[in-house]
Symmetry: none
Subunit: 187 residues, 4 copies
Amino acid sequence: MITADTSVREQIVSTADRLFYKQGYNLTGINQIIEEAGVAKASLYYHFPSKEDLCVAYLKRRYERWLAMLTKFLEGITDPKERIIKCFECRSEYLLDNDFSGCSYIRIIAEMPQRSAKINKQAILNKEKQRQFFIDEVKKLRRIPGNSVNDFANAIFLLFDGATVQCQVYRELSPIDNALKALKILF
Amino acid sequence: MITADTSVREQIVSTADRLFYKQGYNLTGINQIIEEAGVAKASLYYHFPSKEDLCVAYLKRRYERWLAMLTKFLEGITDPKERIIKCFECRSEYLLDNDFSGCSYIRIIAEMPQRSAKINKQAILNKEKQRQFFIDEVKKLRRIPGNSVNDFANAIFLLFDGATVQCQVYRELSPIDNALKALKILF
Amino acid sequence: MITADTSVREQIVSTADRLFYKQGYNLTGINQIIEEAGVAKASLYYHFPSKEDLCVAYLKRRYERWLAMLTKFLEGITDPKERIIKCFECRSEYLLDNDFSGCSYIRIIAEMPQRSAKINKQAILNKEKQRQFFIDEVKKLRRIPGNSVNDFANAIFLLFDGATVQCQVYRELSPIDNALKALKILF
Amino acid sequence: MITADTSVREQIVSTADRLFYKQGYNLTGINQIIEEAGVAKASLYYHFPSKEDLCVAYLKRRYERWLAMLTKFLEGITDPKERIIKCFECRSEYLLDNDFSGCSYIRIIAEMPQRSAKINKQAILNKEKQRQFFIDEVKKLRRIPGNSVNDFANAIFLLFDGATVQCQVYRELSPIDNALKALKILF
DNA sequence: TATGAATGAGCATTCATTCAT
DNA sequence: AATGAATGAATGCTCATTCAT
């Protein structure tokens, strides 16, 4: 059993996670992070060689948070079609819980066009995990629209990302509804 | 005879447009803009009261650029289904021409979660124009999948935005292909 | 009869007068003046070669305003002692009317320690006129405390300036009352 | 052994003190301060959150300087009347030593009509300490002109401030002489 | 007279990072 | 493992002034 929750490192990551996601990476300064985390600046640089490394930790954490939430949503549900729909409903709740701040990986890339290798790797990794989820579920379907697992999974994945960014832009959940309607047309 | 193309104001806007889109809004400083534009700092602030106002001009300009490109792509094409597909192909070329920098409106919102009223208004306006394009084309269709103009247009719009952000994330055009395949399943 | 009140020059001076006195000379920019005056920047520089020249015009105007107010206050009063007291009461009203902004000449010197010759000359001139007023009144007195016209006039002048700056500092009129009490002790 | 006199913080405050008093607060830029202090800009902002906070430190320091000088002047003198006169003589020397730059509290208020709470508080505090000095001395007098401790102390305080600002305006010490003459009339 | 446009120098402040302890 | 202090470079923005028309 780990009690790292109150450690300096944990304080830094959780604060950075909150601020990066709420305010954006570039608009969140190191000073604000250490102030709100209640740690010294040099402590931050002891645990994270640079702001960029802190960003990687933030992206990892965001994925873990999403995965935990999704897992809970899918609990006891076996029907693949239902699981896909649940995933969209989960995103709806996630965005509602997080002030419509969108997808952290997409956003970090939107903020840093010349993204570093580290950040790029982490962001792509997280997105691929999401794509894989849809592929896994589509594989379980008895009838696959379009007859291609990948094509159908990718279609769902596009709707998923499209809905996520539109929710962020419009600050409302209707794009998720639109995506669910699109799914009905597709299925 | 107007030679406005080389005016100070035009120099500022075109330089800002290029840099904001390539590097991101927050990572592009006023100093770099005036340096590359070859104008004095006070000249920039004479024409644009703040960086934010310059951002609005940039968003307007991006839409105009996209519209001009799309109009050219659609020249002579009347079939609505074909026009929708052409729109995706146009986006493909747009992203290729612009180093996979994605959608300027989505990005500006990703960069500035606490976006100002001015910027929000311009971004939403531009996105709604795009949605309207799809609605107009869907209306012209003989058979509408799902039997609802708005639902089908919104589905296309989700694929369009989803493909745009995925192209940006992966720095490749395959998401556009995925969107076109999804369209085929839908139609 | 002159109707210059609406002329460009008059607009500039009256606006500068108001803003310099309310906000301070250094904290009032040319831009704010021309904006609130509703004139072009070059128009200001046509009438006043520099901000400094505008400052001189401001100091002149302040003195004229004070003199007009004082003249009205003294109307029909001949007793020198009473006239001196009235002068303090006039200052009280002046400060109340002008948001306790103190003496414009003292303030301009406080703001610009390395004051220019022009401004210095105008400020000293205005202050000397005030000193002369006290000298003139003291001369009319039957009995002069201290037996020296200049010494007694200077004492009053010190109380006058002391009260003015203290009213400004404390933003209340009690220093004027203190000065009047001091006068009673002196007389 | 403490060598705080040469610390970065001390360098900043002493330089700011000198420049604010000589040139005025608004005419002294942060750049000049750090340059003459020989420290980095960020070091200044590490010790003082804003220029305003540096101003408060400056005002405190000015009072300490004045108090030290006055204390030395009053050494061994017990007669209250003599102590009051010495206080004026001390001011004379203070102004001579400091290029007739007047009273820092009065000047800062003259420069910043919309003064901040912090600065206002410090300025008023310092002025009240001076007033209290006069009250304390007047209380010790055997015979109090006007029969009111406060009224007489306030009269002296007005002469003190009046003389200070007039010395600043005229750049000469005669107003102090005038004040001493006024004191003689009063006593 | 009057003006829109342009400018170089300067403003206060914040950035991510490093170093000595 | 943790910190207080220090920094060079950059941030967005404003200054008084000038010039061509």
